[in-house]
């Protein structure tokens, strides 16, 4: 459902992604691991459509459609979701209001009428339970004054309400203690199904104990240095990324 082909991306003239190839089918969860500065967040932002990134080569197809031609809001309406590494605080916009605006924007795009207030409320109640979120957070301004854990929980909550077909989780584990991490992972796992794809981006293997991926890719210096099954995450945990900081051939030998 998501096809990334030979993706090259520059930021302010500097090449960050140097030819990424990635193919994710419905129902699959892929993990991308890599050290700081390897290009993980750039990949997430380019998929979501953030400005400031220049694609110099390659393409991203989402169910065969050229994602790079679409503005961010269209990608979201097509069923793409990015769980932000740093969720933005928006003072003055209540969480619930924001969520309803988002749900209705997607429905409008699909040519559906605005959501019924009662149906929406029921969905919200149900999904809030999924991430053990307190009802008071609905009335508060989006992410304003939320703790790190609350912000990440709010991301997963939004994902649960919007029910995207494909979700990118950008370092959703960063800044979470183990209890919060479990809650967030349980929320994600509850949404996994044969139609939905996930791309989980993380620095640490820890998250992948809870969200067990089908495939793991190691991103180093803007390229996928190695791909494998879930066991690759454990190897990385033991050996670290140091192996991959060498030239690619040696890194592959070392990992093999």
């Amino acid at each position: 459902m998501l096809e990334i082909r030979n993706l090259h991306v520059t930021v302010e003239g500097r090449e960050i992604l140097k030819g990424i190839d990635l193919s994710i089918r419905p129902g699959e969860t892929h993990a991308i691991m890599g050290p700081n500065g390897s290009g993980k967040s750039t990949l997430a932002n380019v998929i979501a459509g953030r400005e400031g990134y220049t694609v110099t080569q390659g393409e991203i197809l989402f169910d065969g459609k050229n994602l790079l031609d679409m503005p961010a809001e269209t990608r979201a309406c097509e069923g793409l979701f990015l769980a932000f590494q740093y969720p933005v605080e928006i003072p003055g916009v209540a969480n619930l209001y924001f969520l309803k605006a988002a749900v209705n924007a997607v429905r409008k795009y699909r040519g559906e009428p605005a959501v019924d207030a009662m149906d929406f409320w029921e969905l919200v109640q149900e999904r809030m339970a999924l991430v053990k979120m307190d009802e008071s957070m609905l009335k508060r301004s989006v992410n304003e004054g939320f703790s790190g854990g609350e912000k990440k929980r709010n991301e997963v909550f939004q994902m649960a309400v919007l029910q995207p077909r494909f979700a990118v989780l950008d370092e959703t584990d960063s800044g979470l203690d183990i209890d919060a991490l479990k809650v967030v992972a349980d929320g994600v796992n509850a949404l996994r199904n044969p139609e939905r794809g996930f791309l989980v981006i993380t620095h640490y293997q820890r998250l992948l104990d809870y969200i067990v991926p089908d495939h793991v890719h190691v991103l180093v210096n803007g390229k996928i240095a190695h791909s494998g099954g879930k066991e690759l995450a454990l190897e990385l945990e033991e050996q670290g990324y140091a192996l991959y900081n060498e030239e690619p051939g040696r890194a592959r030998r070392a990992a093999a």
């Binding site: 809001e73 933005v88 916009v93 924001f98 605006a101 988002a102 924007a105």
Partner: protein
């Protein structure tokens, strides 16, 4: 004096003697008018060499030959209403319009009336209060208003009186290059409580220089809302001065949407222990509108608190100035004074200038001030878009969020909702045009 300034002042000088001769005011008021006019002549028109007027360019209104106000018919349908019972006084071209007004039963000695009429029927109730509130000594248009005011509103609540319904004052101007100088006298004696909505609006070109005097007795509570929605060609140079006695509370909301050049000079003195004052300002500027707010909060007695929040949303080539002074006198220990100015620029040509100032002579006080000016947060915009909300709608949502913080402070629900509607219509229009 420059030729342009003389050209502005001379007609008032020529007019003043005739004006006085036609008045039938008690002597004490005639003397006050003379004193006010002498003050105006002494001050002259402000120049941009004066610090307080450095950023206000008066060359446009100075070059126009303004006429004394005259009567004109007005269609009642264009006047704003509040969707609730009110005591309603309408003024057309500065004069009380009884047919458009509606006054209900009032408790005891409470007076809600035309100031012009009350001067004839109850001069003894006006005399102790009018021209007694300190402040705006250097403001030439406040002085000029003191000389030439003819009508306006007089609200007098005796001790312990509470009005259940808000007082709605509507000042409508019909253009014709008239210079309107309405006067407001608002007196809440000890423990009295009232909510007042004052609206300035009109059509075509005119100059509006209203002056409001407000006295709050011990323990009195006032909710005051001023909505400046003047015609796009109009000039508005308003003055507001306020004195607060012990433990009184004033909530002032100043909303400025209209006129090509708008300025509000506000001076308040917390003259009794434990007085509390909140100032909540919101300006919406577009086209080439200029809006200025000059505030001076004087803490004269201990344990007072004041909280100022002034916000501006500026589009196209609009400009806004916030000049705020907190003065804490030597006696005013335990003062808690805060001031914040925030501006949101929607275009690269819009400009905002903030000049927050503190003068603190007491040593045991809490004072803070701050200002910020910026564009919409691109991260916030992207966050909304990443959830499917189209860019224009995302921007609208963020602008509303910025402004709603000010509107939400207005407790009077029908007014708050109407203003939210004005804001929505205004932003929708800006986005279509922009």
């Amino acid at each position: 004096m420059t030729a342009v300034a003389a050209q502005f002042i001379d007609p008032y000088r020529d007019r003043f003697a005739t004006f006085l001769a036609q008045r039938h005011d008690p002597d004490v008021f005639i003397q006050r008018r003379r004193a006010a006019f002498a003050r105006f002549e002494q001050l002259g028109l402000p120049t941009r060499q004066q610090e307080a007027w450095r950023l206000t360019d008066l060359s446009a209104p100075q070059a126009i030959a303004w006429h004394a106000p005259s009567a004109a018919p007005v269609d009642a349908g264009i006047l704003p209403t509040l969707d609730m019972p009110t005591q309603r006084l309408v003024f057309v071209n500065g004069r009380f319009a009884p047919a458009l007004s509606r006054l209900g039963e009032l408790p005891g000695q409470t007076l809600v009336a035309s100031l012009g009429q009350a001067l004839r029927t109850h001069p003894e109730r006006i005399e102790p209060w009018l021209d007694h509130v300190p402040g705006l000594d250097q403001h030439p248009f406040a002085a000029l208003n003191g000389a030439f005011w003819e009508d306006g509103a007089f609200i007098h609540l005796p001790r312990g009186t509470t009005l259940d319904t808000p007082i709605h004052l509507v000042f409508h101007a019909s253009g014709g290059d008239m210079h309107l100088q309405p006067r407001l006298l608002l007196v809440l004696e000890d423990g009295a409580q009232a909510s007042v909505v004052v609206e300035y609006r009109g059509t075509d070109r005119y100059l509006d220089t209203p002056l409001a005097d407000i006295e709050l007795g011990a323990g009195a509570t006032l909710h005051y809302h001023q909505v400046q929605e003047e015609a796009p060609q109009a000039f508005h140079l308003g003055g507001l001065r306020l004195r607060q006695q012990r433990d009184s509370t004033a909530h002032l909301h100043l909303l400025g949407f209209g006129s090509q050049l708008a300025r509000c000079d506000l001076e308040t003195v917390l003259d009794g222990t434990g007085a509390h004052c909140t100032l909540n300002g919101l300006i919406l500027g577009r086209d080439r509108q200029f809006s200025a707010v000059h505030v001076r909060v004087n803490h004269a007695q201990p344990h007072g608190s004041s909280e100022q929040l002034f916000k501006g949303v500026l589009d196209s080539q609009a400009r806004a100035v916030f000049d705020g002074m907190i003065h804490v006198s030597r006696h005013a220990q335990k003062t808690d004074a805060r001031q914040l100015s925030r501006n949101l620029l929607l275009s690269r040509q819009a400009q905002a200038q903030a000049n927050p100032r503190l003068e603190i002579l007491a040593d045991d006080v809490k004072c803070s001030h701050g200002s910020s000016t910026g564009f919409l947060d691109p991260d916030a915009e992207f966050y909304l878009r990443a959830r499917g909300i189209p860019a224009a709608e995302a921007r609208m949502l963020l602008i509303h969020a910025f402004a709603n913080d000010s509107l939400d402070r207005i407790q009077l629900a029908p007014l708050r909702e109407r203003l939210a509607g004005v804001l929505a219509a205004r932003l929708a229009l800006d986005l279509i045009e922009g």
